[in-house]
Symmetry: D2
């Protein structure tokens, strides 16, 4: 991944600032002949859209996506697809003070140091608004995957808010879309609502853990040793705003396991190898096994909060800063559809790369 | 990162199988005029070398590195540097059974599925032996960093073996090289020795957590939004054999923090901004802050163990498999110098990329 | 160069079809702090704009470029710059017959074969309209070069139309912008006008040779052996629509020279080495010498002509085809600003790449 | 193409200096399961090998290639293939004077300027010796093409030496390997022998034009608009030492054609579209048509000659230089197998890229 492009064969380049006229993505290398219209993309954007509950930023954005190129008569042509999303609610008056000082925990200071200047309006390029373009591109990836890998399914949800995790015993996939937290455990969701509401009223924010899972992934995806599927997933997830950690399968907990426990034993199933567990998260040696690909990532709390924090100004003065404006008290919530989008893009990229190198042939067992 | 190459400007391509005649790395894009000889690289390889204690594989490899190109009169010329390490101890008789069946938790099955065949001798390309080439390349990166960023220092160590973590209060950097575990806490090291010895005799293995830190990193490294410094670090570490999770700074724990606690507050120090904490792990918005860059990764237990595990053969028969041979009971130990090498390569790559785009100029504060 | 992106550090991704709503380019990796506004780009687009004389297509396009991202307060921020050009004159009724048959000499048939379908309106992605996006990106490159390499100057002109070349003895740079052919030889321009007018009335078209020259190029640009400056220039020029050959310096004529004649002998000038000739076209071993970089390319005649040509339909029927519509009788004319733009982009890319690897240091002589 | 790597999916990284211990290439992304041994590669290297006639350098190199990785039991495994060629005849005493001064027309001065120093022994990295690694990599590409595109055939030959071209009417493919010039016209070959012998005895050298042709190329290869097949071919050929121009099909002559003449008219043949001519050189819009892909390139005369030429030393003194040593009087001769190798690599890369994006499906006609 380099600059603002990710992917090797399915390549996504995003552009745009929070308070510029528009943001967008160019999707290049897309297979031709795939049915695609704006109606296929909009539902994914609606899931990430701000202002849908009191638990997300109150910024109002329609997030209407337009396809400016790369399709003809409702199908992809194999040429680059420009996805454009206009910014409609850019109340930059909210951000006056931000231009003069650096929010602690925010990219303000590093953009300033690296580039010598920055667009302070809404965080400019470092705004989470950029992730709308990822979600649009992910929608294209999903449309292609639906054509090329019919059984594949991608699901994201939150498994932890602040210190409060879900109870895996109560996991109910049908509940994910029924609460504002993409939470598969309704009891946890109820607790989270109370917890987050209090934090919000305190002018505070909190972190979260998101899990994204792809089922129906064909075996054989991934290009060892530096284009490993998990290496690309790690980069993809870590590139999302505010992400500080990425886990595959057992993740950090793999450190505590013995070899006896960690071994995902194998038996022969009706359709080939069957694994008795999935500590590997569907990836061995950087290549998919055919099991569910399981990725988790930690999202830090929003740094723009109403509680005063010590910082400095661009002129080097020490001040206390309160960040007014419209911010997500738990930015992890809206990271769920973003994580799904990145997972879709990375998997499709590897489907194409694998097809290129191997022709999609698979080694026989039995 | 693509196939067997990583990096954009400082590019490393590794090649070679565990039991082929040799392994190696081509380092391309190296700045010219840097003092470099084999003597600069060998110490790093010696740190990763197998067979140095009873806690690592008993395979005997001199791991002598030769520079075949890219230097003249003891200095780099700017042309590609071929680093070659001959394999000398390839007792492939150890691996007979492995050819016919798939070790649970190992890349055997995925290589077979993807490529239709695999080199089973010692794991072929999926062997941890590949990491020797990374360490050699990392040695080149260190030599260049010593010239370009004089104050930069990279340190790696283990912070957890199985369920047993270190006590940060007893952290003593001087102890790291004094025990076979790169452990900064001597009391932990003593406990780990007993623990691992028992596991080894039980024919079992265990995971670990490694932490690598770069201090003296200049601010401004990293290319948002997909070439973020942390995104590249995540990919680099996740590409190391057996790694299942990568954390930056607070990592997974960031999920439990509130915005008030997570904010690394800023004051003016004598030389510019000074942060009062480092939950960010030295990276904000994908760009280095100038603080220590802190990366942790979890290494799963070695899958080649003497305890029988259920698996299948290439002909689809269900069997129980014991992996004889010479294996690391805790492969995390030897991952320490590998993590350091990857950190060195990624940072140097970003030093060059930043210098290319910005000329190395930094925004002023005050 | 891959898909729709070219460049390594200064990366340009173009998108859009001839008759879609818009075309554009994302410019990524641009150095920060460079003064840039739409007014800096528009003049270059105006040079390439159709409909300015009877010798170019009568399609009317304002070719107004908008900067949607990547600048703030009139300066680049180091983030991706989206350049958008709306298509305003898309008379697609002109292209009805083209959808059903393949113009001989045109990309119609290859897009159909590769992608299974194509956007036939105005040639879709294969239209020369795509080059407007290159010119816009080239404008950004020029603005950056003006800041980083002040003395650098890029000049393009036509040196041959059909069989009629210029007389180098009459070369007058001031005349280039004074005739509709970017011709430095006014006598040739007068002859070309008569010649082309006749061809146009005959429903025919003709090829051309364009020369683009960069003076004030610093020595040391180019990354042997596959990122050679001339290799990148060759790819850049060959990627322009209708180009069939690229020459550097003496070009094809170098084949006829002896080593004695071809040697560009060197003397010491007041500011360093001085070459007595420039058969090399400013590039030796893939690296710039400091002399003028001289590139020529041949543009084939427009394939859309009013003279009937034999071809087949998408249903495999043999037909004779006349291409009505608005086409350039000599598309080489409008290739002049495109060649300049590509030269600017490639040189800037190498300035940044060189600065990244070497820090811009130059070896001393004397 | 970047630094010392070319190709996107079939990626070749070469390394090594003329007088270092060895040179070589890492071939990455190779499809698995392809029969490959050193015996498949050696014949191609033997064709390029120096010292085979009085018309090439008298340096004696066995050019024995060894495969160090990436194959198992005689087949590719999909992992990187290291090809190593030892340098055996490094008489660096020949090159004493070259270290102190810059050969006119040679990369000596540009390497010095860019890198601050250079390996002067035999030209170091800028030596044509590097092309042996290309030929080895091309051998791998040929083996893969033989498996994936059975009818494909690649043929290279010289069509011009100095001012003396071949007579196309006497073209006899069977003669190409029967003379030391890869000349398809025996009468021309006889004349060339006399001509070159005289030049050699005069201490002079001369340029040449090489043509390489691929027949049996499937339609649909090439990725517009910057990964066009011809753009990649142009870069590949221009990256060969001493090449100054690249032509596709009609090449520079396309400039002189009218649209009526240039149109390669199309009829329906028994197996699909049939073109009545091939001015396009098998490529339209950057995508292969299925016709022969025809590429020509001009090679400048060797700059190392025995005739004194004016130049300067590294200390800035003006001198006259004679280059003693063993040099090719017409380096174009040995460029023939190199051009073939590059053509093979580029075509295979595009076969894999096309298969990745489109799955190899082709649009129907009729």
């Amino acid at each position: 991944m380099s600059y603002n492009t990710f992917g090797q064969m399915f390549r996504v380049t995003t552009w745009g600032e929070s308070h510029g006229p528009a943001i967008g993505a160019v999707v290049d290398g897309c297979p031709p002949g795939v049915a695609l219209s704006e109606a296929d993309l909009q539902p994914w954007l609606d899931r990430r859209r701000p202002g849908t509950s009191k638990f997300t930023t109150q910024r109002q954005e329609a997030d209407t996506v337009r396809i400016l190129s790369g399709t003809y008569q409702g199908r992809t042509t194999g040429t680059p697809i420009q996805l454009l999303i206009e910014n409609t609610d850019q109340r930059s008056k909210d951000y006056g003070e931000i231009a003069a000082s650096f929010r602690p925990g925010h990219a303000d200071i590093t953009y300033h140091l690296k580039y010598g200047a920055r667009d302070p309006r809404g965080g400019g390029r470092s705004s989470a608004r950029e992730t709308a373009a990822r979600v649009a591109a992910g929608g294209v990836a999903r449309a292609v995957l639906a054509a090329l890998v019919p059984g594949l399914k991608i699901t994201g949800y939150m498994v932890q808010m602040g210190p409060h995790g879900i109870d895996r015993a109560r996991f109910d996939a049908d509940q994910i879309a029924q609460n504002p937290f993409w939470c598969p455990d309704t009891e946890a969701a109820t607790r989270w609502a109370l917890y987050l509401d209090q934090l919000r009223r305190d002018g505070n924010s909190v972190g979260a853990v998101v899990e994204v899972v792809a089922s129906g992934v064909p075996p054989g995806l991934g290009a060892p040793v530096y284009g490993k599927l998990d290496a690309d997933l790690a980069a993809a997830m870590m590139s999302i705003n505010a992400v500080k950690a990425v886990e595959i399968g057992a993740g950090m907990a793999a450190a505590s396991l013995t070899g006896v426990d960690n071994a995902d034993e194998i038996r022969m199933g009706p359709d080939g190898p069957q694994f008795l567990s999935n500590h590997a998260g569907g990836i061995l040696g950087g290549i998919s096994t055919g099991q569910d690909v399981v990725v988790r990532f930690a999202v830090k709390p929003t740094s723009s909060i109403l509680t005063p924090r010590r910082t400095i100004t661009t002129t080097g003065d020490e001040v206390e800063l309160i960040t007014k404006g419209r911010h997500d008290p738990c930015v992890g919530i809206r990271a769920v559809p973003v994580g799904e989008a990145m997972l879709a893009c990375v998997i499709l990229d590897h489907v194409l790369r694998d097809r290129g190198q191997t022709g999609g042939l698979r080694g026989l067992i039995g």
